[in-house]
Structure formats: structure tokens, C-alpha cells
Amino acid sequence: MTPRGTGLTIDCAATADVIVRALRREVERVGFSKVTLGLSGGLDSAVVASLAARAFGPENVIPICMPYVKSNPESLTHGKLVAVSLGMQPRVEDITRQIDLYFESHPDANRARRGNKMARERMTILYDCSMAEGALVLGTSNKTELLLGYSTIFGDSAAALMPIGDLYKTQVFALAESLGLPREIREKVPSADLWEGQSDEAELGFLYADVDALLLELVDRRQRPQALHDIGFEPGFVEQIRARLRQQQYKRKMPVVIKLSSRTVDKDFLYPRDWSG
């Protein structure tokens, strides 16, 4: 039994307002007026698309659906549904040919390798769109994913800006409802859809509601493990998540640079991202 429901409630209107303001500022600062994002048909990308539409107007958001032949057909249907409901024209870039061509030479690749390759292929399409259209790439990762490292490094984790990166998955659900996103999107089972039948919660081995409650205590409130056991979190679950937080740290950092000179990038050559803006 996992304790739930304390401290994860957000004020959706205020949250959306702050994100929309920050989105405008961060995008305009670097000289862009348009954004692009991958529209998977899932909840996170739908929420980011909706916030982007508010910030820039739907005509300045380029949503791209990037199906693979074995993707669940529902993903494309839902991606298009989201785009149309927000007044956007969805683009469709089928990634089957290039993925299959590559794996012809690597027929033994397991589904994780294939899934990662697809995520990185989608990233290259978004960055190509960025250059072609002058549109900044928005990431759709949420805080739960970022903390658990539940992403493909340099794949779906690659973006210029992560509008919902400080919201837990359960908070994204709440935001989706307040943004009026279609019920089909809000009520479907979360999935990266990298292989048939994939489900986030089945693959992770726990429910978002449970892990969000735990992450809130561990990360935001800096609770010690013993205190978490005392309030009802199962010790094995606490240890599993603590280990995962450490193991996945590399996905949250820029590559390590070996220091040799007097000032080294990312170590003692420290400037904000907005230095360039």
C-alpha cells in the first residue's frame, strides 16, 4: 500500500499561465517565433501542443506525427485528433523505411535497440524541421520521466525547452483535463508505443500515482528513507526508486568533459542558456 494524494494537487490555470508566459519569453529570446514538437497521440505531447498553441497561436506550432509501421494505429489517429482539435495542421513523417533499412544490417537487434533508434530518428526529423522552418524544438518529457530516466537519451530527451518538465505525470493528467483535451487522449493507457502492447506502467513495474507520491517525498521534500517507510511506503519500492534516480543521472547531464585547461565548458565556464538570447 502506497500513501497518495498529498501535495501533488496543482492550480491548473495558474500553472498553464506561468508555462505559457515562460514559453513565449524563452522562444522569442533566441529569435524564434515558431515551435515544433512530436505528436505521439499520447497525453504529454498533447498537453505541450495545447500550451504551445496558447503561447504562439496554432498557426505557429508545427506538430509532427512520426509513425512506424508497427506503431499502434490509434497513436496516429489520436495525434491527428489532438492537432485538429487545437486548430493545427499535423504533418505525418513515416519513419518505417529508414528504420527498416538500418535494421536489415542488424537483424538481431532487440526491441529496446529498435525503440531507441526510432526515438532518435524522430529527434532528427524534429531538428531538421527546426532548421527548415525556424522552429524551436519543444520536448514533451514530464518530471516523472526525467527523474526515472524513462526516455531515450538524445532521442525523446533531446529538445531546446521542456515546458512540462517540472510537472509529475499525475499533474500532467490534471492539466490535460483543465486544458479541455479530448477524452480519448486523457483516458488511454500511457505508452511510449515503441513496440506492440507496450505500457509505461507495466514496463516500469509500478503506477504513476504511486511513484509520483514517492518522488514528491524523496525529491521535493527530501525525506529520508526511514521516514518514508514510517508513513507507509514499502521499503523495497523506496530502494528501487532511489537506485533508479542515481542510475539514470547521466541522462540529465551534458556529456562529461575532461578538465585540462584553466576554464572548461560546463565546469568553470558557466553561463546561463539565455546568455545567447
Binding site: 501535495g7 494537487t9 496543482i10 492550480d11 490555470a13 495558474a14 500553472t15 499561465d17 506561468v18 508566459r21 515562460a22 519569453r25 524563452e26 565556464f269 558557466l270 553561463y271 546561463p272 542558456r273 539565455d274 546568455w275 538570447g277
Partner: protein
């Protein structure tokens, strides 16, 4: 004596001195035209906040001619602007430059640097070593910069030094945006400042910036709180604004007659007890 204060809730461009000086000139002209007696900009209004290694690139001596020109533009109005001061020993400080009649009257160097959470000031700047109230055209004035204000000892010193009005410059970003729509830290600021104002019978002029830097969203809501804890004026959340409010020294007198906390302060006792704590002596 009643004075009109202009609170400049602005959005400085990070590291862009030229742009920010121009913004200051425009805002000062606007406030002067409105008849302001004191014009207050937020923390690091000339440079932006999240400077990191840009600090030495945007630092300036307190007698920098660009600062003097701003002061002259303010004419008869007093002026508080925020920037990075470089000392003669080439150390940098987060500073509030205070001008009157076109002349530099006081520089307050931030005494308590914020170096926790998203803040890392102590890595980049030195900490100030003085805090004092000064006589000004709007009454006896104390200046604090953001984190200074979270230390009641600093506020207490200014009040014992005679401050009737405390100007607080801040660059405070959203933290814990929760139910109710107001960031948790904004609520804490509001409660803390109101307590100071009401407890000591002092005006608090709080000027916070807006805009974003690297995903930090500054929340604004600059305000003047009166000596009974009342809100004299309040700027909106998140949006740029120039708001004006009046401060009346007579109200300070009234508040202190009602609640003579400062009259009854015991400086000798405070110093003696602090000295004992400093020396690690046991309680009796």
C-alpha cells in the same frame, strides 16, 4: 510629509547593459513626469539576475558615468537602481545604488548572498559588510536586497538605526506553484513583509522583477506596505508595470505611538546576549 514612490516592475535583459540603461532612462522619464519623489528599480535591474560568469563583464564602479547620467535624468527625484558594483580592489558585489539630486548618496552591497536551491551568488560575488539607514528626501531610509530581508537581524539593525521606510529590491522566481495560484515563496514574502511593517510601524517598499531567465519565472507583485500592515499599492503578478503609492511619515508616528516596540528595544541587552551566544557561553 507625504512622498510619492514609483515602483518599476521591469524585465531587464540578461547581460545587456545597453538595452537596460535605455529601459531605465525611459522608466525614469515616465516616473519623473508623474511627479515621483523616489523611483525604485528591482535587484540587478541594470544587468539581469542569472549572470554567472558574466558578472565581471557587467560590473561598474559606483561613480560610473552611465550611472551618473541616470541620476541626472531623475532630476529632483531620488533613485534606487540595481547593478553589479566593482570595488577599487576589483571585487564584485550585488549593489543597490542610491542617488539624490543627481548625486550618489549611498551604495548598499548585498550582505546575505543566496546560495541554495536555484541560487549560487556566493560563487560569483562578494558579500557586503555594512548595513545602515540614511537620511533621505523621503525620510530615514533603509535599503536591503532580496535575501538580506530574510534575516530579521538586518531589518532590526535598520530599524534601530532609525529607518522609517525600507526599500527591498528583489529578483524572486516562482517556487512551488501550488493550489491557490500564488507561488509558495510569494506568499512567504508577503507574510514576512507585512509582519515587519506592522510589528515595527515602518513602510516597506518591495520591488520585484518580472520576466524569465533560463526557465526561472520572476513573479513581480511589487508592493508598498504601510506601517499598520496595510497594502498601499500592489503591482500585478508576472506583468511589467509601473505603480505609484504615497508614503506619509505621519502614519509611521501614529503606528509607533500605538505599538512602541522600537521605543522599548534594549540594544545593550541584545548585544550582551548576542555576545554570550557568540562566545559559546552557557546559559545560566
Amino acid at each position: 510629509m507625504v512622498s510619492k514612490i514609483a515602483l518599476i516592475q521591469c524585465d531587464p535583459r540578461l547581460g545587456d547593459l545597453e538595452n537596460n540603461f535605455e529601459m531605465h532612462r525611459l522608466k525614469i522619464a515616465e516616473a519623473v513626469a508623474e511627479g515621483a519623489d523616489l523611483i525604485v528599480f528591482p535587484e540587478l535591474s541594470l544587468t539581469g539576475y542569472l549572470l554567472q560568469d558574466m558578472v565581471p563583464d557587467v560590473s561598474m564602479a559606483a561613480d560610473d558615468p552611465r550611472l551618473c547620467a541616470l541620476a541626472e535624468a531623475a532630476g529632483g527625484a531620488a533613485l534606487c537602481v540595481g547593478g553589479i558594483e566593482e570595488s577599487r580592489r576589483h571585487a564584485q558585489y550585488i549593489a543597490c545604488f542610491y542617488f539624490e539630486g543627481g548625486n550618489l548618496r549611498h551604495v548598499h552591497r548585498k550582505v546575505y548572498l543566496a546560495s541554495y536551491g536555484v541560487f549560487d551568488e556566493a560563487r560569483y560575488v562578494g558579500r557586503g559588510d555594512h548595513i545602515r539607514a540614511i537620511d533621505s528626501t523621503v525620510g530615514r531610509l533603509g535599503l536591503t536586497i532580496c535575501e538580506d530581508t530574510w534575516h530579521p537581524s538586518a531589518i532590526n539593525i535598520l530599524l534601530l538605526d532609525g529607518a522609517e521606510l525600507i526599500v527591498v529590491q528583489t529578483a524572486s522566481p516562482v517556487r512551488e506553484l501550488r493550489e491557490g495560484g500564488l507561488p509558495q515563496n510569494a506568499q512567504t514574502w508577503r507574510d514576512t513583509l507585512r509582519s515587519y511593517a506592522r510589528l515595527y510601524g515602518v513602510y516597506i517598499v518591495f520591488v520585484n522583477r518580472v520576466g524569465t531567465e533560463d526557465g526561472l519565472v520572476y513573479w513581480g507583485q511589487s508592493t508598498i506596505l504601510g506601517p499598520h500592515g496595510e497594502c498601499v499599492v500592489e503591482a500585478p503578478l508576472y506583468d511589467e508595470a509601473v505603480v505609484y503609492g504615497e508614503v506619509d511619515r505621519e502614519r509611521v508616528r501614529q503606528a509607533r505611538l500605538t505599538n512602541p516596540v522600537l521605543r522599548d528595544e534594549r540594544i545593550d541587552f541584545t548585544i550582551r546576549e548576542l555576545r554570550r551566544i557568540q562566545n559559546g557561553e552557557d546559559q545560566e
